[in-house]
Assembly symmetry: C2
Homo-oligomer: 333 residues x 2
DNA sequence: TTGAAAGCGCTAACAT
DNA sequence: ATGTTAGCGCTTTCAA
């Protein structure tokens, strides 16, 4: 860390530090020849601004934090890419954190971001930090929730799909294809993506005048192993459903594995439709029918909202950004 | 940003700022009752240390940067997880950047990290920044290269597999299974992962006394579309190879798509072995025979090396960390 | 044990 | 157009 600093350049040129600073930032008047000399010296000396010092002085770190439950999940990776795109264009840095689907890791990441003076936060929460979030009011830094909307957190910006409606529509589409005995593997009941998708599913069944079969609705944790385990339970049932809705990609992969191991065919023996099971490889057969959140756009919009809040735009109490999921029809139903 | 600061706590308690600082950091003697009072006040006021100010004062940002070409690639996602694990345990923050396989984005990320005073850097480079890296000597911050080792960058830490040997062994294993007409889809020739894997492949053929068939060796860019395009070219050939080695996961997915579209079977019509085509879903059939880099360990080791350099350990000129890839034998050969 | 003061590198208000 | 100065929030000598 023996880096060149403004002082070095100033001394070398026989001008003041502030002149160098102005020449570089473009704020304030600087003589044309002086500016040239400064620029040349900066080039030549390989000066790099110390963003830490600048952030402290400006009381603005110019970075946005994003916390996701699983960076390996291509859905979240896409969200990150979207957010990064916006950040890059606006000169903000994006600090990516992974909570590993763990509340205490999420809290840890939250604290780190807080300490690093993140200007804003995009949060795909696994829940439970309502206190930390509420208490700190996060340094007045804007927060945008995506994916799971924790309870107890209101009056915050949200970018998401309408999970209830989405699950209802997906289930209706399943019904429309003639399936009547439909089950579901949901996510954790304490996450809105889990509970709302379940609620939408049940609503659709009730609307269709069908009885709910609780033994056909199992709760997973969004991970592959749980999808597999849930599907194995389903398959062991005396009377089993003809079709399943599954609340995310990894659980779907686990479930398909279980189905294959059992020697059953999709969709002949059991049909499938999922959330976010967008197979980028295009190699999984049959292609999975899936209702996909526009991940990259979610990331982009979330970052845009942060920026607009930072620019002073007020949140509209009655407004949420609701994006439409896109249905991909594969051969799995 | 109207955050509580040390001064607020100090005033409230009628002590000096330095006393509060000491009570919190544990450095320097502080009376037991005073310490208790401080801790209580800190708890109650929801004080959070300002890491920006601390970093400036300490001239140490305590964060490690990592730049990867594609955060969506599960291989790199695993590397990141490994690095993050180590960082978390040692109180460093990990700043994740995505270069999108683009040299200028990589350079941009490099510059940002430089400005943010990253204490160290883990770099899966797409090449071309040798100047920037060399010139700045990166603030004396340690750099560890993983994956691609750019030319012109020597005397730097490296964590990788022996790509030449790995490709040679993989090709030999292919030969041992009786295949003689083998082609390859390589990565960019200016990246070591591309050129070394190609060299190892060719070495194995030559060693086996086989003639090289240049028309069977195509260069992709590590992306899916290029894998598909390369394989389509191969399939259009009059005389085509009976087996292919493919240098990474995405190109393999693209290639398999091309093979399927052509209505050919794997491995009956064309056999396949790849690098890092570890299918976490377990659903791609046939299972792809793949030589996998221990991604998470690479990330972990890289971070550990950064930390040891920061702790003052010197690099041993003649030492590189070379990890062993793991062969997964699927039904694709 | 505690306080006063300096200073990390930068920007911006104010003076010249 | 340029220089002087104060200060962002923190840690750490040095005194008391």
């Amino acid at each position: 860390m023996s880096a060149v600093k403004l002082e070095d350049i100033a001394r070398q040129l026989g001008v003041s530090i502030s002149t160098v600073s102005r020449a570089l930032s473009g704020n304030g008047r600087v003589g044309e020849k002086t500016r040239q000399r400064v620029l040349a010296a900066v080039q030549e000396s390989k000066y790099t601004v110390n963003a830490v010092a600048r952030s402290l002085r400006l009381r603005d770190a110019r970075n946005i934090g994003i916390i996701v439950p699983d960076i390996s999940n291509s859905y979240f990776a896409a969200v990150i890419k979207g957010a990064q795109e916006v950040c890059r264009q606006s000169g903000y840095a994006l600090m990516v954190c992974n909570s590993d689907e763990d509340r205490s890791f999420e809290e840890e990441a939250l604290r780190t971001l807080l300490e690093k003076q993140a200007s804003g936060l995009i949060l795909a929460s696994v829940g439970g930090c309502a206190e930390l979030l509420g208490q700190y009011a996060y340094h007045d830094a804007p927060i945008v929730f995506i994916d799971n909307i924790p309870q107890g957190v209101n009056a915050a910006d949200v970018v998401s799909i309408d999970n209830l409606a989405a699950a209802r529509e997906l289930t209706r589409a399943m019904l429309a294809r003639g399936y009547r005995e439909i089950g579901m593997i949901t996510g954790p009941g304490d996450q809105s993506t889990g509970s709302l998708r379940r609620a939408g599913f049940e609503q659709a069944l009730v609307d269709a005048g069908l009885a709910l079969r609780p033994e056909w609705v199992l709760e997973g944790d969004f991970r592959m192993a749980s999808g597999r385990a849930c599907m194995e339970s389903i398959l062991r049932l005396e009377e089993r459903p003809r079709a399943m809705i599954i609340a995310n990609n990894y659980m779907t992969y686990g479930a398909i594995n279980a189905i294959r191991v059992a020697g059953l065919r999709i969709p002949e023996d059991i049909a499938l439709a999922a959330f976010d099971a967008l197979d980028e490889t295009g190699l999984i057969t049959p292609l999975i029918t899936s209702l996909n959140q526009p991940a990259q756009r979610i990331g982009r919009r979330a970052a845009e909202i942060i920026l607009s809040r930072l620019a002073g735009e007020e949140r509209r109490e009655d407004e949420e950004v609701v994006l439409k999921p896109v249905l991909f029809e594969g051969g799995s139903w």
